[in-house]
Symmetry: C2
Subunit: 246 residues, 2 copies
């Protein structure tokens, strides 16, 4: 039977994250429930990565093995009809049997959205981190360049993270501003637990002038959590894309 | 004691509408709770108009009589600190004692937002009405011109509405499209219960080719609910502004 890859969009606000849980509403759990209904047997899916409660996705990836053949167009329509309005299947595709959403992934892009103005906005709540302080964009751009390349990101790893190897390669960090709308876009071969949110909180502190841009270089070389105790909230984070070798 | 006018922004998704209710969460109830906490006595407010469950506001207006003098800057900060993230006080202003949010209003502007593409989008759910059908914008613009001016809007009044006089004046209806984002903006001296949502549903049907634009003229002259049984959902509606004589 075929392996099917799905690309998924979700609004994380009303989920206790990606991962299936016995009592709480999760993205994985909702999709498995719908697939089980369609295939009339218990279905499980593998995600490219877990997202925490409140984190959104524009292009999460998951795979499953079909137990009967359903044309992909019909399957997608049926899934989107049964799924609630906060999850949507963007696309379905047949893959070779050795394809795995997590193990075959070669990289990811995350976006972090910030509302950078004094007053909050009710329509950004849950979708952008409200950061009311003045930011010096150039300081952030200065700090960003130190992250690019292969480094040990031990200073940017959540306490209690189980990752054994903190070495990751960051290919690119884009910093964009449109008036009071600020966006960070991180692309790398992988990210440690909460690493994007810790880097974002660090960069915002740099922008505010509390930390020198050069500190990024120092703490990448000599790991310490002294400057990275803050974690930007989940609401601003979006898993944008997962990359695979073609 | 002074009458204070407030302009309020809210995301209607998690409210059972504007109006205070004994057990359900309402915008009025939340603001009164916060004011009662600040003034340390039971406070009530008068809104410019009730909005239904799920309807949003960019500029709802309400008034109350202060029971002690608090500088408006401090009051606004305190209110916004105590209010949840889905309500925000935009401004506070002292008014003369005869000012009343509802009775002094001379007009209102509502916006109705539509996502006009085949596939839904999870981030529009709750904020835009997903209308997947092809729309002929010119037909909508043709129908709109019949609404402008003073008419009996009996054909566009919700069944069971208690309004005695269905005469209203519509000053302007703007129709805007940016790719698949469609917006209607209705400005008038007042609107009957669900009138904006019924007009929107009617105009979308005209756009889809199910109703002739000229039918607008016919049913304004000869009231019938034959073409106006549909009500566009609350999620797309925003109370943008309430006008007062200066």
């Amino acid at each position: 039977m075929n392996v099917i890859k799905m690309i998924i969009e979700y609004d994380g606000n009303n989920f206790y994250g990606w991962q299936r849980q016995s009592t709480s509403r999760s993205v994985q759990g909702q999709i498995e429930k719908v697939l089980s209904k369609i295939y009339k047997c218990d279905m499980t899916i593998d995600g490219a990565g877990r997202t925490d409660a409140g984190v959104h996705a524009l292009g999460q990836v998951a795979t499953f093995k079909e137990t009967q053949s359903i044309p992909l167009g019909n399957l997608k329509r049926a899934m989107n009809n049964f799924l609630s309005s906060d999850i949507r299947i963007i696309s379905l595709e047949y893959m070779t049997e050795d394809f795995h959403a997590r193990y075959s992934a070669t990289g990811k892009t995350y976006i972090y959205k910030v509302l950078n103005k004094e007053e909050r906005n009710v329509f950004s709540a849950g979708y952008k981190y409200h950061y009311p302080y003045k930011i010096d964009d150039n300081k952030i751009k200065d700090a960003i360049k130190y992250f690019i390349g292969e480094h040990s990101f031990k200073s940017f790893m959540a306490a209690g993270s189980s990752a054994q190897n903190p070495i990751r390669t960051i290919h690119e960090i884009k910093f964009k501003r449109l008036d009071d709308q600020v966006e960070f876009e991180f692309t790398g071969n992988g990210f440690l637990y909460k690493m994007v949110r810790i880097m974002t909180a660090f960069l915002l502190e740099v922008g505010q002038g509390h930390i020198d841009p050069e500190t990024a270089k120092t703490i990448l070389e000599n790991p310490t959590r002294k400057y990275t105790s803050k974690v930007a909230p989940a609401m601003g984070l979006y898993l944008k894309e997962v990359y695979y070798e073609i």
